[in-house]
Symmetry: C2
Subunit: 117 residues, 2 copies
């Protein structure tokens, strides 16, 4: 039985992987942490255009629970919290790389809109 998965039981690996990355901002958080190594809460918020604080904390908590990110709290004032990828999170990011390339192809192919920047 062990630990209960969010939406288990799973039928295959794709299932199990999509379960932890589904969530409007999780892919971006993963990407941001991969790019910068360590990021604070407010830095992530600024990096994700349009994210609400509620969703960001919610996603970060779930990702921590799923063993993707590490959360380091400094007992300071003002508060300081640093997020970084765990080994598992970094591996997930590697596994997402071909998917990201496919997505870029799709954007090119279909001339889809991309957020300005």
């Amino acid at each position: 039985m062990a630990k209960a998965p969010r939406n288990g039981p799973y039928i295959c690996g794709i299932d199990a992987a999509l379960d932890v990355v589904s969530g409007k901002w999780k892919g971006l958080v993963l990407w941001e942490l991969h790019t910068y190594g360590v990021r604070r809460f407010a830095e992530l918020r600024r990096a994700l255009p349009g994210v609400s604080e509620k969703m960001l904390t919610q996603h970060l908590r779930q990702m921590e629970e799923d063993g993707l990110v590490h959360r380091k709290v400094y007992a300071e004032v003002p508060p300081k919290v640093e997020y970084s990828l765990t080994e598992s999170g970094a591996a997930l990011n590697e596994a997402l790389r071909p998917l990201g390339e496919w997505g870029r192809d799709r954007i090119r192919r279909d001339a889809l809109d991309v957020v300005a920047g």
Copy 2:
């Protein structure tokens, strides 16, 4: 401007890819079509334990719209419809392979429940 993406505009490729695979059964449909090449509606329904007919048609229509699957209708009675992957769908499946492996690792690592069979 071009074609409107389902949840665009996108921030990166991961976004664009996750958009077309998010949906409770899409990963499985992709996998099933990849494994068997061509499948009929009822075969897919039987392959996905617990899927409702509504969701299956809905997902298949979206995937057709997204250029992932090809739908071939035979003007017969009783009706016969065959689904298969397009080139783009097959490429997506390839791109999902490392993700599937990561997922299998996760299942092993955390001893998660898997559907019986």
